[in-house]
């Protein structure tokens, strides 16, 4: 029964697959020092930034693309990618009237209103948004409101211009360009991204959000995000992403760095919905991302929550280095793969400080012909006394053509550590489905219910607006995947 439906499986509709017809300002294809100089010049960067890029590029040339992940794909041709694409006109936008109407339509379709009507009418929206389309940040909202509290929330490019001391101090301090192949590549060619600094003692009054959109064909997206929470600061940060449906594979290689000082907390939530490719596995985004935070000082906390439903291939391990004593790292993840998607995702919790705690809750869902791997490292360093970790990795299989894999690595160098690991694998039960149907709930809705129930612990961690979106996304991504 399940097999029959699997056989005639229809891939769910990807509703963000449209292309916006706006003129773009592109760099020529290919990667060399000239391209890097071109990007740096386009962005009017200071010399130190260019030097950083060139160092990273030279280092990248010495590296080989990693192949330890449990994924297989045709490696991208790095000379066949456009490394810079900016929607035209590339002028400073002062008001919405100056924004290309096509661009505004795009945002409307994406369901994000950058029109600050609500604020104008006295109703304050609770989310400030930075939008990155292809290579550049197009619009950041609520900047003024935030700056009253001393919060800096702007595009990365702007931060390089306006706050070079902060960028110099923190950029690369968590993910150095030597970290890995894609981090080195990103460090050389990144074009924009978001920058956020929360000063001492400030709780950011609204959710900050970056919306990433790949639009132009043949381009790669290489953005960088840097979030710094100073002492006693707090921020909740959201990230969303979509891309058009294209037959080609497009590369997305981002770097996200988070730094928390004493007593600070950063909550980072992602709903990743890059185009996953069609039902035969053609096209889709290669999502090779390095995300890491460091709890630099005592009593700080970093929490990653991710709902991953998109991308053809995902390679992503949002991690926390628990350096400060009593610091806390959390990772809550739902990774859903359908059709021919492949995901190798998990986290690293590196315990260095005393009394540090980490929690890992990973929920994998595999359907179709997909492969879904959890890969996680828990390392308790010598001297990290009384460290605690709890890991729970659950896998849910739909049908009999998909795979779920778990690769937990545990390294303990301190005897006082307590590390717990639980793992389960289950199949969505015919009995559960029949029970739902007997109550009048059809197959699709039943799967949505069961899957959302399974992911509840993670979805509960998302901010309200995101949780609702994520629930819908999970149901839509599984349409037609099980009988």
């Amino acid at each position: 029964m399940a097999n029959e439906i699997l056989a005639e499986q229809i891939s769910s509709e990807y509703k963000y697959g449209f292309v916006t017809d706006i003129e773009a300002d592109n760099a020529p294809k290919g990667l060399n020092e000239d391209i890097i100089r071109f990007i740096s010049k386009k962005k009017n960067e200071p010399q130190w930034m260019l030097e950083y890029r060139l160092k990273a590029f030279k280092y990248w040339l010495t590296l080989e693309e990693p192949n330890w992940a449990h994924v297989s794909y045709i490696k991208p041709n790095f000379q066949d990618i456009i490394y810079y694409s900016a929607p035209k006109p590339k002028v400073q936008l002062n008001s919405l009237d100056e924004v290309d109407p096509e661009l505004l339509k795009t945002f409307e379709k994406l369901g994000i209103s950058i029109e600050e009507q609500k604020r104008l009418s006295g109703v304050e929206s609770r989310i400030a948004v930075d939008i990155v389309m292809d290579s550049v940040s197009v619009k950041t909202t609520f900047k003024e409101t935030l700056s009253e509290k001393g919060i800096i929330f702007c595009s990365f490019g702007e931060a390089v211009q306006e706050h070079p001391e902060l960028v110099k101090k923190y950029m690369g301090s968590v993910v150095p360009y030597t970290d890995n192949f894609y981090a080195a590549l990103n460090s050389a060619v990144f074009t924009d991204g978001s920058f956020c600094y929360i000063p001492k003692g400030v709780r950011c009054p609204m959710e900050l959000s970056t919306y990433f959109r790949i639009n132009a064909s043949g381009t790669g997206q290489f953005e960088r995000t840097l979030i710094v929470a100073d002492e006693d600061a707090y921020v909740s940060y959201l990230e969303g992403c979509t891309a058009p449906m294209r037959d080609e594979n497009q590369l997305h290689a981002a770097v996200v760095e988070i730094v928390t000082h004493k007593n600070a907390e950063v909550k980072y939530s992602t709903v990743q919905n890059w185009y996953p490719g069609d039902k035969n596995g053609k096209g889709g985004i290669f999502n090779f991302v390095t995300k890491r935070g460091v709890c630099l000082e005592d009593n700080s906390k970093i929490s990653w929550t991710q709902v991953e439903t998109g991308s053809a291939v995902t390679w992503k391990y949002p991690s926390v280095i628990l350096k400060g004593d009593n610091s806390i790292g959390e990772f809550y993840s739902v990774a859903l793969t359908n059709n021919h998607q492949q995901a190798d995702t998990g986290t690293k919790m590196i315990h260095l400080g005393k009394n540090t705690r980490s929690t890992i809750i990973s929920k994998g869902i595999s359907a179709g012909f997909s492969n879904n791997s959890y890969r996680g490292l828990v390392r308790i360093a010598k001297g990290a006394s009384n460290a605690r970790n709890f890991s729970q990795c659950d896998s849910l299989l739909m049908g009999d053509k998909c795979g779920a894999h778990t690769f937990p690595y545990i390294e303990i160098k301190d005897k006082s550590a307590i590390v717990e690991h639980e793992a389960t694998t289950s199949k969505i039960g015919e009995d559960q489905l029949f029970y739902c149907k007997q109550r009048g709930i059809d197959n699709e809705k039943a799967i949505g219910l069961i899957v959302n129930g399974y992911c509840k612990e993670v979805l509960n961690k998302l901010p309200m607006e995101f949780a609702v979106e994520a629930q819908k996304l999970l149901s839509v991504s599984l349409e037609g995947s099980v009988g």
Binding site: Q432, Q438, R439, G440, I441, K445, I450, G453, K456
Partner: protein
């Protein structure tokens, strides 16, 4: 006639379990189906509910004028057929309330009705919880997850009360219930009884029928209804065991 089963044959994995069932049920009636292990009682409830493991090889089932066997399991439910499961299924992470709200609104959508207003839903929830003396906390817990055997059965009757079906099939609802739970479950069923609905009580023992008094008792044996009578038949069975039936039909 609400339900009319004619010469129903059904098999699983090539093995015939139901060998020509005939049964007619009118609105307002309670029918008990009794029989020894392996006689086909649960198969009958599964076939009526539309479990796909079973293959109907012969016969017909008309439910409120519709060919039941042509309907999908969810459409049978939407038409008003309810099965209280012998072994209720757990759905982790899905609250009873959310589950029931989804079910009610799916059924309403099928009938071309708007989703139920939140306040009406909550009012119904409160009222029906009382009916089966279900702890309010259970309504907010995940469907059947971590419920005791008795709680699961009570939850089935609670769902039945919420969905207000036209025909309810209670599949060995008494199994695993202590006497207090039995009384509560049966009390709930009795309160839900009306001139417009009907109930099929499938059971091993006469005990449940002390509380839910049937209008008609059928004895199922080897895939066929071999004897039909009044509620006294259940008592006779209790007294003499199933052997006397076997003797009577010369099995």
């Amino acid at each position: 006639m609400m339900l009319s089963i004619k010469n129903l044959h059904a098999s699983i994995g090539g093995k015939e379990i139901l060998k020509g069932i005939n049964l007619e049920i009118k609105a307002g009636e309670v029918h008990a189906i009794m029989g020894p292990n392996g006689s086909g009682k649960s198969t009958l409830s599964s076939v009526l509910a539309g479990r796909e493991d079973y293959e109907v090889t012969e016969g017909s089932v008309i439910f409120n004028g519709k060919n039941l066997l042509e309907l999908s399991p969810e459409d049978r439910a939407r038409e008003g057929l309810f099965l209280a499961f012998q072994y209720p299924i757990e759905i982790p992470g899905v609250s009873n309330v959310n589950f029931l709200k989804t079910a009610i609104n799916e059924i309403r959508a099928y009938k071309g009705l708007e989703p139920m207003e939140a306040k009406d839903f909550l009012a119904r929830l409160k009222e029906k919880q009382k009916l089966v003396e279900l702890d309010g906390k259970l309504a907010n817990r995940s469907v059947n997850e971590g419920f005791s055997g008795g709680e699961k059965k009570r939850n089935e009757i609670f769902q039945m009360a919420m969905l207000d079906p036209c025909l309810s099939i209670l599949d060995e609802t008494d199994s695993g219930l202590d006497i207090d739970a039995l009384r509560i479950v049966a009390g709930g069923v009795n309160k839900l009884k009306s001139k417009d609905n009907a109930t099929i009580v499938i059971t091993h023992y006469q005990r449940l029928l002390d509380y839910i008094v049937p209008d008609v008792v059928h004895v199922l044996f080897n895939g066929k209804i071999v004897k039909t009578g009044s509620k006294e038949l259940a008592l006779e069975l209790e007294e003499k065991g199933y052997d006397f039936i076997k003797e009577e039909i010369g099995a």
